[in-house]
Amino acid sequence: MSTNNNIAQARKLVEQLRIEAGIERIKVSKAAADLMSYCEQHARNDPLLVGIPTSENPFKDKKPCIIL
């Protein structure tokens, strides 16, 4: 019965690989450029990158964090 098992598995693998081989891909240069432009666009609003004014900082107030 192990032979049958292998056949079903091998079939599944071939199907899976066909799907994966068939997907559309773009060049790394384009992908990288898009990642970079996303970073650039959002950098201004990234508080861990640029910091936040004390007045707007949620962790500056005295309320303790609640652990549930």
């Binding site: 799907i19 997907i23 060049k27 964090c65």
Partner: protein, 399 residues
Amino acid sequence: MCDQTFLAITFGPCDSCSENRPLMNLYIKTEPINYCSLCMEIMACQGLASGETLKSLKAESETLRKKLEEERKKLHDVELEKVAEKAEALGELNMKTRRTLKGHGNKVLCMDWCKDKRRIVSSSQEHAVTMPTTWVMACAYAPSGCAIACGGLDNKCSVYPLSLDKDENLAAKKKSVAMHTNYLSGCTFTNSDMQILTSSGDGTSALWDVESGQLLQSFHGHSADVLTLDLAPSETGNTFVSGGSDKKANVWDLRSGQNVQSFDTHDSDINCVKYYPSGDAFASASDDSTCRLFDLRADREVSIYSKDSIMFGAASVDFSLSGRLLFAGYNDYTINVWDVLKGTRVAILFGHENRVSSLRVSPDGTAFCSGSWDNTLRVRQEGRGVGRELKQGGTTLYG
């Protein structure tokens, strides 16, 4: 493809042998066939196209693998680091610990932020929410903030509604939603409080309806424990990525259950996966002491975050809001902050006295929290209290 097969599992009489068995629900050219696994194997064997043998199938899968590699290679025209040379250099980071939460009496294994950005749910070996189990390994906040889901060695994921009444016994209101055949390693709500996605040591991931506990979709493909999962940002559609002990990271279509992409460049277990904020890429943290970035549209690994001096496994990763910074917690008690584009490390954060087991950036990106085996959670922020200016096209950041 001449025919397609979809698999889901139910229990009942087999169409072929009439015995009551777990059934593989097959659809051959849209016609449903309910066979038990034994009859399915026999059918598969009998249904071999002429000349199709185990050998020929194996040869075909080899050819397909090679084709996959070639296709990916053709598009590998440049490295991310090279393209990123044009990007501005990051100024020095000054991360400060704002809160150290010591409420747990034992190791913190996982944590999650509430969308209101102030509350955190975390779980430890001694479990903050009383459950009949020793280890809670995964927890998640519902999008509404009104419930949490958690589970672990009990092989289940249970949902607890939250109440402002401190005296209320939360355990009494618990609802078991997911049932796996091994430990629960990860859980997350999808876009509403109504569905949860779980990953398990039984090698599968699954989508569940919270109200009825019904299994909506299951995801098979990993050949070992699934250790982590992350849902794609809602704008990018219905997919999620999972990582496992089989060193693979798989991307899945939520609706069809289909494994659409697979990445296997890690050398050891993948402990954590996280989507890049745009949804076009994801990062992974592995026991091979590296973190890597995989681009989904280029279908390949595009960056690796590692150093010879880092020899311990990475347990958890998360991106800052813009995706420029990658925070990673390691088993050597440190947190390394990486420049995602340039591939360099920009900061090492100390403070924890044991492994960093989990790490998440808050929903508004103002802080990140790390949970550790030293029983604490630390919330950290960029230390400059004043907003800084990032000049367009400039080369430095102003303080």
